[in-house]
């Protein structure tokens, strides 16, 4: 479904990704693991064309996304829920969601999508008219996820959805991610939170210093010491 | 280290220029250029080097000009004392000015200085008992010949350039540029940014204030609309700065020369060339062209600003290497 091959990405003269390749198949949950600064967010930004690679390609359902301007990526059925949620703080919850459905198809189904999402996130329904900036961190994350789903994507990318959340909220967010996947949306997840993600993912890749150093199934990873080394340096 | 000979040659040229160029008209233009060098240098120090874009240079210019004029009209002291005093009082006004404006950064700083500029102009207009309002103040000119004014203006211009040059070579200069490049980094390097921004503003105010006092002495007449003018002084100061080269020692010199020259070329229809062509050929449409050209001098300033900002963002001196490259090697894009 999504095929990333040989990505090299630099910010000015600072190269952050070195020959990164990976693949996501339809219906999967794939996790990109890695310590801070390893290049996870950059990878996602490159996939959604916010950052242009120096070499390499991003292919999604037969289209070369790296050749598409970033605002058109969503038309191909790929949504990106960015790190730090990035809601529109002065707009209400509902408006945030609506802005997620600006593509033609999504717009046509806006009403039903909204109802569907309010079913999934009953908590948001209570806060439709509240400015997004006034919500708690967990609620904001839910709005961000829901906003991503509003475009009815075939694949959705989450960038550290558990960041800065209390442990209980983290568990809940991951439940949501699994649920989204059960609804038939393929998921590409970037996380630090190793345990949760590995337990639920189909496959995982490890990024270290801008390079993919490991790949395999979740089970394989749970028992691999390399992860621990990458994270804790022991 | 060998001293660069360029500035020295220039100095000699400027010193003997009025002796070669006896024409009072060109001497007058040169005096204006030199006055703008001082204003431009002052603007450049706070804006170009310290990075705090000043939209209110006229506040200091007007203050210096009024200091000189009031000395003469109210106290009967020679307006020439206005040169040092105008500078000093401009520094005094720079303190509250800075206290207000330096709470703000970037464009907000710029707007605050613009607002203060306007406030000063209004006060000078309304406070008729002191300033005579728009009736203005007359100061009798001391000399008939242009030469004394020329050399005073030259001295002020040299003083400005040398001051800025010396400051920029000193610790202060390093601090000013550090503040421009990154205020947070500067703070964490132990630089009291507020203090040094204020210092920079004070030096700027001093130079611009002296130029204002020179204006009073030379022109002999001031009113609030002339010396506190947003367009003729504040914006013009910015133009001199950015056209010549932001953050360069000799940028204001080049900028002042170009701005005065452009104004005169347009105003006079290419120093009479168009007129001459019109007369010698007898083409009737030449007079129309002359009219349009002479009306276009402010338009040309506007276009100059747009072109410089888009293509020479660092001004003529700042982007000199770029210009030279494109002149020498015009086929290839100069980057």
């Amino acid at each position: 479904m999504l095929k990333v091959e040989g990505l090299n990405v630099s910010y000015g003269d600072l190269q952050v990704l070195w020959d990164v390749s990976f693949e996501v198949k339809e219906g999967e949950i794939v996790v990109l693991l890695g310590a801070n600064g390893a290049g996870k967010s950059t990878t996602l930004k490159t996939v959604s064309s916010l950052v242009k690679p120096t070499t390499g390609s991003v292919e999604f359902l037969g289209a070369r996304l790296d050749r598409v301007p970033s605002h058109k990526v969503i038309n191909h059925g790929l949504a990106h829920v960015p790190e730090g949620r990035r809601l529109f703080p002065e707009m209400t919850v509902e408006e945030n969601l609506i802005v997620g459905s600006l593509t033609r198809e999504a717009k046509a189904k806006r009403k039903t999508t909204l109802e569907w999402l309010y079913d999934i996130f009953p908590r948001l329904k209570e806060r439709i008219k509240q400015p997004a900036g006034t919500l708690s961190g967990g609620e904001q994350q839910m709005v961000a996820i829901a906003r991503g789903l509003m475009s009815l994507p075939k694949l959705i990318m989450f960038d550290e959805p558990s960041l800065g959340l209390a442990p209980i909220m983290v568990t809940e967010i991951f439940k949501v991610v699994e649920m989204v996947n059960r609804e038939g949306v393929t998921v590409l997840l970037v996380e630090q939170n190793v345990h949760h993600t590995l337990a639920m993912c189909n496959r995982a890749y490890v990024l270290e210093n801008g390079r993919i150093t490991l790949s395999g199934t979740g089970e394989e990873f749970l028992n691999n010491d390399h992860i621990k080394e990458a994270y804790l340096g022991i | 280290m060998k001293r660069p000979s360029g500035p020295f040659l220039l100095l000699v040229l400027l010193l003997i220029l009025p002796l070669i160029l006896r024409d009072a008209y060109y001497q007058h233009l040169m005096i204006l250029v030199l006055m703008w060098v001082a204003i431009g240098s002052g603007w450049n120090l706070i804006s170009g080097y310290t990075g705090q874009v000043l939209f209110g240079a006229a506040a200091f210019f007007g203050f210096g000009a009024y200091t000189a004029a009031l000395l003469s009209s109210k106290l009967g002291i020679s307006a020439w004392w206005g040169l040092p005093l105008g500078g000093i009082l401009s520094v005094a006004i720079a303190f509250p000015f800075g206290w207000i404006c330096f709470r703000l950064r970037g464009p907000y700083f710029a707007l605050a200085t613009l607002a203060l500029n306007e406030i000063f102009r209004h006060i000078a207009t309304i406070w008729e008992s002191l300033t005579d309002g728009m009736i203005g103040i007359l100061v009798m000119q001391t000399f008939i010949s242009k030469l004394p004014y020329y050399y005073v203006a030259l001295a002020i211009a040299i003083f400005s350039i040398v001051t800025v040059d010396l400051v920029m070579r000193s610790r202060w200069g390093y601090y000013f540029v550090s503040i421009r490049e990154d205020q947070d980094a500067a703070e964490s390097m132990g630089i009291d940014t507020l203090h040094y921004k204020m210092l920079s503003l004070c030096i700027s105010a001093f130079l611009i204030g002296i130029a204002g006092a020179l204006y009073t002495n030379y022109m002999g007449f001031i009113d609030p609309k002339v010396v506190f003018s947003l367009h003729e002084i504040s914006i013009m100061a910015i133009l001199v700065g950015i056209v010549g080269g932001v953050g360069t020692i000799y940028g204001p010199l080049v900028g002042a020369f170009i701005m005065v020259a452009v104004q005169e070329i347009f105003r006079t229809g290419g120093f009479g060339i168009l007129h001459f062509i019109g007369q010698s050929t007898g083409w009737p449409f030449m007079s129309g062209i002359i009219k349009y050209v002479s009306e276009a001098h402010v338009l040309s300033f506007g276009i100059l600003v747009i072109v410089v900002i888009l293509f020479l963002p660092n001004g003529i001196v700042g982007d000199w290497s770029l210009i030279r490259k494109s002149l020498v090697n015009s086929k290839k894009p100069a980057v």
Binding site: L50 | V53, I100, G302, I309
Partner: protein, 291 residues
């Protein structure tokens, strides 16, 4: 009491017009982060368009809105597309070069107007230009009241547009988080162009509405640019509701200043309030409006 009420009415009516001027500037500020120092000059251009249509084609000034607003929209679009957007890529020592660019644009617009129309004062005289009606001894200028009404209407339309349409929501999204907006499929470059157009269109409306009671010459832009940025900062940068508060505040401050301090101080009062707000209420009146 009459003096007070008449001052109040004068301030509110003028404030409505100011709000309209400030709204466009605020919108531009919010989305582009640019202080548009050519805003008053946009207004001047619109006034000339109205003048020409009235003078040569006999169109009523109010009907010329349907031409002046789209024309200025186009002007704004062209300026953003060909002068301001390319500037994003130019690296310069002074980050304020966008503001300086708008100063250059303002000069060029003014001088082009002078080229075409000379410096003469021009005006548009209609039957309602100098008529007034009275409510309890308080006089309401017909044209100013109509202008106020139009200003309210346009303001409400703008709100409707910003809140209810996808394009409006996109504009707000870009102003709050441009990168996130890109991820939602919004072309922020295009939104900037459109926003500049809308901002110019709004101030065009203000100019056209003002013309029947005022007059016109090329340098009229400068004072209105100054008023516009005062309003924008009073209102809290980028806040549309704030711009209305800012406009009314400035209108009232000027009127009450003129009545109770002195007409000399009219402009001064505005400027001093501007500085005070800038210094002591960093968010402008946005702080008190919560929107």
């Amino acid at each position: 009491m009459d003096v007070f009420l008449q001052t109040l009415v004068a301030g509110v009516l003028k404030g409505g017009l100011y709000a309209l001027i400030g709204l466009g500037m605020t919108l531009i500020m919010g989305v582009m982060g640019i202080i548009n120092l050519a805003h008053g000059q946009f207004m001047m251009v619109a006034m000339y368009i109205t003048y020409v249509l009235f003078h040569f084609f006999g169109l009523d000034p109010y009907t010329t809105l349907i031409i002046s607003m789209p024309s200025l929209f186009l002007l704004g679009v062209l300026i953003q597309k060909y002068l301001l957007n390319p500037l994003m890529k130019v690296e310069s020592i002074l980050p304020e070069n966008q503001v300086l660019m708008t100063v250059g644009i303002a000069m060029v617009l003014t001088e082009i107007a002078r080229f075409i129309f000379s410096s003469n004062y021009l005006s548009v005289r209609t039957s309602y230009s100098s008529s007034a009606f009275y409510l309890g001894g308080i006089s309401f200028s017909v044209a100013l009241t109509v202008a106020f009404g139009f200003a309210c209407f346009l303001t409400l339309s703008l709100f409707w547009f910003l809140i209810k349409t996808d394009l409006g929501r996109s504009i707000r999204a870009v102003s709050q988080d441009a990168e996130a907006a890109e991820l939602m499929g919004i072309d922020s470059g295009r939104i900037k162009v459109v926003t500049m157009g809308i901002g110019a269109g709004l101030v065009a409306a203000a100019g056209t509405l003002l013309l029947p009671i005022y007059y016109l010459f090329p340098d009229i832009g400068g004072p209105f640019t100054r008023k516009a940025f005062i309003i924008t900062i009073l209102g809290g940068l980028g806040s549309t509701v704030g711009a209305i508060f800012g406009g009314l505040t400035l209108g009232l401050a000027e009127s009450f200043g003129a009545t109770y301090i002195g007409m000399d101080f009219e402009d001064l009062v505005g400027l001093v309030i501007f500085l005070l707000v800038l210094l002591f209420v960093p968010g402008g009146f946005k702080r008190f409006t919560k929107v």
